[in-house]
């Protein structure tokens, strides 16, 4: 809607199937697409850490969760590589992602925009162009 706020979205898979997903409108107006992605990456990081703890309850020792983000600048922000002037307005709560990376709880990796499976949680996507694929290739579901 036209209030200039972005939507955050993520999806986590364990094995072959999605287990956790979310679509949430951001509470603030981001000043750049990188900032919007950075906020989304933060939301995903919170969930990743929680999921890791649940898996530990199940007796699984988990390695760092990889979060695929399609915005290079957002990743640089998370790795604290960006000139301070561009990011200093971002509320401190969003920076806990840096700590999570340092503590090796999550790692961010770049992915191509077209490969971003979490896009279905942030926008209306068109149908798969290839007519061979009857079903939208972006869906995380399959038949029985």
């Amino acid at each position: 809607m036209d209030d200039m706020k972005n939507t955050s979205g993520y999806v986590f898979s364990l094995g072959s199937g999605a287990i956790s997903w979310c679509s949430k409108k951001q509470q603030i107006v981001a000043q750049s697409s990188a900032e919007a992605e950075y906020i989304s990456a933060g939301l995903a990081t919170q969930q990743a850490i929680w999921l890791q703890r649940i898996l530990e309850d199940f007796g699984e020792k988990e390695e760092a969760v990889t979060i695929h983000c399609d915005n290079k600048s957002a990743i640089d922000m998370a790795k604290n590589l960006v000139f301070h002037g561009r990011t200093k307005h971002i509320a401190i709560k969003h920076h806990f992602i840096r700590e999570a990376i340092e503590d090796e709880e999550v790692q961010l990796s770049i992915c191509k925009t077209n490969d971003q499976v979490a896009d279905i949680f942030t926008k209306a996507l068109p149908r798969e162009k290839n007519p061979e694929i009857k079903r939208s290739s972006w869906s995380s579901r399959t038949t029985h």
């Binding site: 809607m1 036209d2 939507t7 979205g9 999806v11 364990l14 094995g15 072959s16 199937g17 999605a18 287990i19 956790s20 997903w21 979310c22 679509s23 949430k24 409108k25 929680w50 999921l51 703890r53 649940i54 898996l55 309850d57 199940f58 007796g59 699984e60 279905i120 949680f121 942030t122 926008k123 209306a124 996507l125 068109p126 149908r127 798969e128 079903r135 939208s136 869906s139 995380s140 579901r141 399959t142 038949t143 029985h144």
Partner: protein, 301 residues
């Protein structure tokens, strides 16, 4: 009345219900909130169990909330038509919870929580309705409580069997065997993995909104269509719209594809127009086109 899947009557049920609306906070009850495992946890459990080759089992508690013991003193009048002659003015003091009491769910949770702790389970710090019992170095039994459903799995069949027996002795339970249906979600445990979907529920919703047999679409939303709160469209019944959005949200439990559409459309719940309702119906058409789809957790990755 309880029906069989074919629609015939299975049994007639009657239940004594307390007038919870007459209760006063601080006097008749203190805490009322109830904890529910989030479905992310249940899906993570299903996925993990599938990869490990463990089967998932289910027990459901009969008359769940009658198991809760009350901390507060609560009195009820004699039920109408069942008064004891000559003592019509007398009232009952409750020892255990009744349906309708505000604290009934809470009392049940406290009861089963104590029982699990007594039995050597460890409660998860991250999900208060998740319990894990370990035996030796490798054996593990995981139990997730979902109101009156218990979902459990683990790597030791004897642990699982003993747990089932103990639970059935302690509470009145239905042994549902292998987990195949819970909270409106269908679960198919097969050799190559586990498949979950909400086909039956989705069909019910399509029928409820007169969309069963409609033309399916390939996407839940029209690309580039801008929906606005004020669109000058003819207003539609808000409670019907809310109910539809609520049903869509429920379907997101196994249909992530409609998550964005559902949260977008929920923003118009206060004052929906026929344009918003049209967008809702398109989501239903998408659901219709993908009724056979669900999430598959494969056993070999």
């Amino acid at each position: 009345m309880k029906h069989n899947p074919d629609g015939s009557v299975q049994k007639n049920k009657a239940r004594l219900v307390a007038k919870g609306y007459a209760q006063q906070p601080g006097v008749d009850y203190e805490e009322t909130f109830y904890l529910v495992a989030c479905l992310d946890t249940i899906r993570a459990l299903i996925s993990l169990a599938t990869q490990k080759g463990w089967k998932l089992y289910q027990l459901d508690v009969k008359s769940t909330f009658l198991n809760g013991e009350l901390k507060e003193e609560v009195y009820v009048q004699q039920p109408e038509g069942f008064e004891i002659e000559g003592q019509e003015e007398m009232i009952y003091k409750l020892k255990k919870a009744l349906y309708g009491l505000k604290q009934a769910p809470r009392a049940w949770y406290n009861n089963i929580d104590n029982y699990f702790i007594e039995k050597g389970f460890e409660k998860s710090k991250n999900e208060p309705t998740l319990y894990v019992k370990r035996q030796g170095l490798v054996d593990i039994l995981i139990v997730a409580l979902y109101v009156d459903d218990l979902i459990f799995t683990g790597n030791n069949l004897k642990l699982i069997e003993d747990f089932r027996k103990e639970m059935m002795m302690r509470y009145k339970m239905n042994d549902l065997g292998i987990l195949h249906h819970f909270f409106g979600i269908e679960i198919y445990q097969e050799d190559d993995g586990v498949f979950i979907c909400q086909k039956k529920y989705a069909e019910k919703i399509l029928k409820k909104f007169g969309m069963f047999g409609c033309n399916p679409t390939n996407t839940p939303l029209v690309v580039n269509e801008k929906l606005k709160k004020e669109d000058r469209g003819k207003k539609v019944d808000a409670s019907n719209y809310r109910s539809l959005v609520g049903n869509l949200f429920y379907l997101t439990n196994t249909i992530p594809d409609i998550m964005f559409a559902s949260s977008l459309l929920s923003r118009f719940m206060n004052d929906p127009s026929h344009i918003h309702l049209g967008a809702d119906k398109r989501v239903l058409r998408y659901i219709h086109g993908t009724l056979d789809y669900g999430i598959k957790y494969e056993s070999k990755v």
